[in-house]
Symmetry: C2
Subunit: 297 residues, 2 copies
Amino acid sequence: MWRSTLIVAVRWAIWDQLCMLVLRSTKDLRESMNQGRGMCVLVPTMGALHQGHLSLIRQAVEIAKPQNGRVVVSIFVNPIQFDCKGDLEAYPRTEADDLKACENEGVDFVFIPDESDMYAADRSVIVAESILSSGLCGSARPGHFDGVCTVVLKLLLITGCHVVIFGEKDFQQLAIIRRMVRDLNVPVDVVSQPTLRESDGLAMSSRNASLTAEQRADAPRLFRALSDASCLLDPTAILDYVVKQIEASDLARIDYVELVDAETLQPASSLEQATILALAVFYGEVRLIDHVRLPAL
Amino acid sequence: MWRSTLIVAVRWAIWDQLCMLVLRSTKDLRESMNQGRGMCVLVPTMGALHQGHLSLIRQAVEIAKPQNGRVVVSIFVNPIQFDCKGDLEAYPRTEADDLKACENEGVDFVFIPDESDMYAADRSVIVAESILSSGLCGSARPGHFDGVCTVVLKLLLITGCHVVIFGEKDFQQLAIIRRMVRDLNVPVDVVSQPTLRESDGLAMSSRNASLTAEQRADAPRLFRALSDASCLLDPTAILDYVVKQIEASDLARIDYVELVDAETLQPASSLEQATILALAVFYGEVRLIDHVRLPAL
């Protein structure tokens, strides 16, 4: 019994490995997607996959497999969502490891397009969001969310996927994608997964790999500050507390600390409705974000 | 033989009538489209259907029927593409006639959504085009083509159609839609149909119905000016000629007369490449457009 289970497991492992296709052009991906036309689940990433991504991929596999569907992971460091060229160039790239991780998780297709394939030199059409993206990371990174919306819509339309999965860590991105899907009638279900954290509370992020040892040791203060502040009963006290905790570090530099309405993402002046306490903090050139959700008082 | 042909024809006529569904919500349309999942051809219109629209619908039927596909005509006077409220309110609405015309042509579905169904009160996402829409009707009507792109993408995604048909009369719109389809990887073929004209040369348009008898009698000068000018060999002479011909009328008021590159739609200073000679002219509040294509000299 044990032996036959092992054989089946090994066979499946081999089969899965054989079956993972890496596609490097939109044309190839679309053709692959059009063959067999089953149900399809997409996990869009910029690569440098960590446990947070793997939790999204596992959920994709869980959704797809019972329906005989296919899981697509896209790896594309989307240039048009970077407002700063240095940040784009510094973004970690670990393709070989990413492919191994996808294989292990039973991914069916990995899509790794060229920039020139995704964006024609004379491209002139974008998707633009004007309300949810006005504050938080949107005001700090002009054009960022238009770049995100544009690439996500492209990926949704190239794959023709039925379900797309995002992490809740990028809560503003998630809210904007949901809004785009609603406002443009995109035929896809948006599914989200909670933020995964390191054992010391730091939110998992591809950018964590770019921190120095000293910065890495300091960074858990972000989540600690958010968590502790969430017990306070007044918006001003909450914001003051978080700012103070971050400013206590010589390494951290605040980009923003904000308390916003959980639905509209507009600044919240009371805790009577659900809110999100969010921050973006620089360690050197590395920009980390995190947030906690505060239920209505 | 004659009799049996007649019976078959009558049967088909009845069957077609029975089969045309009028859907008034995005939800109903999407559900209908998801049933049977055949090939689908969309003709987006703002109603007030004339022979020009019917030629688009006939082409849709010709494309769809051999593949056992379905033809959808949408009728929606899209508020967000009107830069002027008076123009939106004055736009002709002839729903009962439109439905009869669609029935006669063998249309399968007519989609007539409410504004509130198409646009949520807190909508915040649009599709924006920045190059092809910068001149011509784009500069005269700020926001117009973003409104067009947004509604067309929504209609494409609600219907999931495989082919969409536009008239060449709105050549700037057609170029922008093609660009959108390319830049956003929308999985649809864009097919176009030449401008249909009245016997005196006036381009067919829903707006023609709003002209007074006197304006209607004067309006053929637009196409006559364009046609005559296209024999000239110099851009300045061409533009001067058209302007002079329009200004000779007391009823016509020029919005623009332009000569643009047929690909980029940017102003053309020579005739060495293919160009488009285009105009927009007001008769009272009614704005008419027309153009001719000039092959490379």
